[in-house]
Every structure is written in structure tokens, then in C-alpha cells.
């Protein structure tokens, strides 16, 4: 379970997050809010990419600021732009990258990568150069690169922003089919309509916390 306990993050004089407290046990959680509201900072805290300036964060009993390596084995992170997340020029090499980091042999990592690609119906992409993939395929490869590491929690930072409708739907289906807890930052309100819970951030604070229908309605009205 993820617990924020009066967590604040400051950048210079500006407070990006202000004494945020919440507990996140649900399977599907949406993080909504306008640009600059602190959404990306909020989710980056969960796997230690950002550390709190004040307050405490607990992720399945671990403190991301104190032990980011252990937390990152539990929390996978999928970024908005897959081009920034994909490290290797060939698809299966990139998917194997995370597994090699976890100490798996090259052969084990390659086998697991191929199995993961086959599982998503993307086996035909294994030997493809990443540069030749469509945006949606790249985002799926980025997701697989995280999924093969078998995290308990997955965080998505605007995963559909750069995608066309078909690829957006593929990613939405992939997120919907995950066994893990998923926390999704997005401006795509349809994507999270069926989620268990939605938090709305504004000015570094949680200003709404409800089931998605009510939270989205409140957010639409507030942003009109």
C-alpha cells in the first residue's frame, strides 16, 4: 500500500506539492489536474525519482527516499514519451535491459523478453529497430520493458498523450488488463472513467478525491 504523510516538495521558493496526505490501496487510481498542478511530481515520489522536502512516504513498507533501489523493484514507471524510456536500439534488447539490471543472465533475459513480446502479440517486433516502430508500438514496448520486471505497482505518466486513437485504445486495453495496481496520470478523462478512484491535484494540493465519475465531473466544472 502507498501512504503519503504530509509530503511536501519545494523547488527553490516554489512549493510543488504542499503537505499531501493520502492512502492509495485501490487497484486503479487516476491522477488528474491542470498543467503544473504537481501530478508528475506526485507520482515520481512513489518510486524515488523525486524525494520529499518534508513529510514521509511509505510504499509497501519501504521509504523511496531511503531505499530507492528496493522501491524501484516494486514500482514500475512508464513515461509519457517512450523515446525517452527506450535505451536500446532493438526491441528485445531494450526489454531485456531491466532484467539484466536485476541480475538475470543475458540468455534468461532474452527468453523472458521474447515470452513477454509473444504474450502481447508483439513477437514479430522482437528484432525490429525501435526507430521503425509506430508511437503506439513504442509505448507498448516501453510498457513491456517495465512489465517484465514484474513490479507490484505500475505508474503511468500521461501514457496516451502522444498517441492516435487506435494506439491510445491499445494502451488503454493494456492498462485495463494488468494484474498490478496501476496509478495513471492523465488528461485523457475517458481512459480513467472505469477506475476505482480519482485524485484531482491543483496548486500542489489534492482538491478532489472521489470515485472517477464524481471527480471528473467536479474537475470539468472547475476547469470550464
Amino acid at each position: 500500500m502507498i501512504r503519503f504523510d504530509e509530503v511536501s516538495v519545494t523547488r527553490g521558493e516554489r512549493r510543488v506539492l504542499a503537505e499531501v496526505s493520502c492512502v492509495l490501496p485501490e487497484r486503479r487510481i487516476a491522477i488528474l489536474g491542470p498543467n503544473g498542478s504537481g501530478k508528475s511530481t506526485f507520482v515520481r515520489l512513489i518510486n524515488g525519482l523525486v524525494v520529499p522536502s518534508a513529510g514521509r512516504l511509505d510504499v509497501d513498507g519501504l521509504d523511496p527516499a531511503a531505499d530507492p533501489k528496493a522501491v524501484r523493484r516494486r514500482v514500475g514507471f512508464v513515461f509519457q514519451n517512450p523515446d525517452n524510456q527506450i535505451v536500446f536500439p532493438i526491441v528485445e534488447e531494450d526489454i531485456a535491459f531491466g532484467l539484466r539490471n536485476l541480475g538475470r543472465s543475458r540468455m534468461e533475459a532474452a527468453e523472458a523478453s521474447r515470452a513477454a513480446l509473444d504474450g502481447f502479440g508483439l513477437g514479430h517486433l522482437a528484432a525490429q529497430p525501435v526507430a521503425t516502430l509506430s508511437g503506439g508500438e513504442k509505448q507498448l514496448v516501453a510498457l513491456l520493458g517495465v512489465l517484465v520486471m514484474q513490479p507490484a505497482i505500475l505508474v503511468f505518466d500521461e501514457p496516451t498523450t502522444l498517441l492516435d486513437l487506435r494506439n491510445r485504445n491499445r494502451i488503454a486495453a493494456a492498462i485495463g488488463g494488468l494484474d498490478q495496481q496501476a496509478i495513471v496520470v492523465t488528461h485523457d478523462l475517458d481512459l480513467v472513467a472505469g477506475f476505482d478512484r480519482a485524485l484531482v491535484l491543483d496548486g500542489g494540493r489534492i482538491v478532489a478525491d472521489d470515485e472517477p465519475g464524481a471527480a471528473i465531473a467536479w474537475y470539468r466544472e472547475r476547469m470550464a
Binding site: 503544473g36 501530478k39 508528475s40 515520481r44 518510486n47 523525486v50 514519451n81 535505451v87 526507430a131 517495465v146
Partner: protein, 216 residues
């Protein structure tokens, strides 16, 4: 890609060679090219390298390796040498750099990035006791460099199109500043992504990282 090679069987054979062997051969051959000062001898060596390139990579593979900016850079260097040191030295520079380019593509075009990374890490591992040597970092940097070629090319193309749409003519001086700014911005997220994927070659940060701005 193998369909483009003049000799697919030779390409398959070269692809099966160990990455370490190919990198070692690249170092030896590149050193040899740097030591040759005679334009005639260099011409013969360059012809052999070009033939190997055509057999293993084919014309399309060689064309991809060349790239507009690399050809332009080599051309500029040769022109500068022509003006300063005369035609024979200019020819030496032209042949040497072109051959190095083809040799490098012969390695990267027939070897997986992960195999090159493993070979670099294995070669540097004995030197890790020396200051500033980290085999894992060097291996990752190389993989990122190979991956970044296509990315940077795409970014440059997007910027050129955006400038053309605003009525600006293509010019390296107009391109370089926004390109570097964009590369640096994207590199920050790539660094975060590498951290997020449990890479441990990096030493732990001693100070908290600044939070990012929300994406637009």
C-alpha cells in the same frame, strides 16, 4: 537488411563473429588508417574497405551510415585541409574519414548494441581500479549513443520542418541551439527512466533531485 547486402552469406558470417573480435579489429584497422600517410596506399585501403562495405552492408546500408551531416562534415574538413595543406593531404583526410565511417558501420550494422555493450564492459572491467573508469557506465553510454542517433536525426528533422513552416531557410546555425536544448531536456527524462528501470551502475545521488515540471 541482409537483402541489401551484395553478399548475404558474408553478412551472416560477419554478424556471427563475437562483438569483442569486431571491436578489436576496428581498433586495429582504424589505427592502421591513421598511420598511413600515402594517398596511394590509403586509396587502395579505402577501396578494400568500400568493397567490404558493399558486400556486407550493400549500397543502402552505406548510404544510411553516411548521413547528410556526416558527409557534409567530412567534406568541410577535406575542403579546409585543401585550403591549408594542399590537395594530397585533403585526399588523405577524405579517404581516411570515409573509411573510418564505413568500418564503424560494418561493426554497428552487424552487431547488436547489447553485444557491443557486453564487450566494452568486459574489456574495461580489469581497469576499474583506475580512477574515473566505470565499465558499466561506459557500456550504457555506448548503448545510449547508438540509440540516440536515430532520435537526434528525428528531432533535427522535426525542427527543420517547423522552421520551414515559419518561412525560415534550413541553416545549421538556426538548428543547433534549439536542437541542443531539446536533446538536454529529453536526456533528463531518459536519465530518470534508466533510474526507474533499476540500473545500478550509477552511484547513489548525494542530494535530492529537483522535481520535474508537469508535462504540457
Amino acid at each position: 537488411m541482409s537483402r541489401e547486402a551484395w553478399s548475404p552469406s558474408l553478412r551472416a558470417a560477419v554478424s556471427s563473429w563475437p562483438a569483442g573480435l569486431k571491436l578489436a579489429a576496428l581498433v586495429v584497422l582504424a589505427t592502421g588508417l591513421l598511420l598511413i600517410q600515402s594517398a596511394a596506399v590509403l586509396g587502395v585501403a579505402s577501396a578494400l574497405v568500400l568493397l567490404a562495405g558493399l558486400l556486407v552492408l550493400g549500397p543502402a546500408g552505406l548510404s544510411r551510415a553516411a548521413g547528410r551531416w556526416l558527409v557534409l562534415t567530412i567534406g568541410c574538413l577535406a575542403l579546409l585541409t585543401l585550403l591549408i595543406e594542399g590537395p594530397e593531404r585533403a585526399l588523405v583526410v577524405l579517404l581516411r574519414l570515409s573509411s573510418l565511417l564505413v568500418l564503424a558501420e560494418l561493426v554497428t550494422g552487424t552487431t547488436r548494441a547489447s553485444a557491443i555493450q557486453d564487450a566494452i564492459v568486459a574489456a574495461l572491467r580489469p581497469f576499474e581500479r583506475l580512477p574515473f573508469v566505470s565499465a558499466d557506465k561506459a557500456g550504457l553510454a555506448l548503448a545510449l549513443a547508438l540509440r540516440s542517433l536515430a532520435l537526434v536525426r528525428g528531432m533535427a528533422e522535426e525542427l527543420r520542418e517547423a522552421q520551414a513552416a515559419r518561412g525560415l531557410r534550413a541553416s545549421p546555425s538556426r538548428l543547433i541551439i534549439p536542437l541542443v536544448a531539446r536533446i538536454l531536456r529529453e536526456a533528463t527524462e531518459t536519465a530518470e527512466a534508466i533510474d526507474a528501470r533499476s540500473w545500478t551502475g550509477e552511484k547513489a545521488r548525494s542530494s535530492p533531485k529537483e522535481p520535474p515540471r508537469d508535462h504540457p
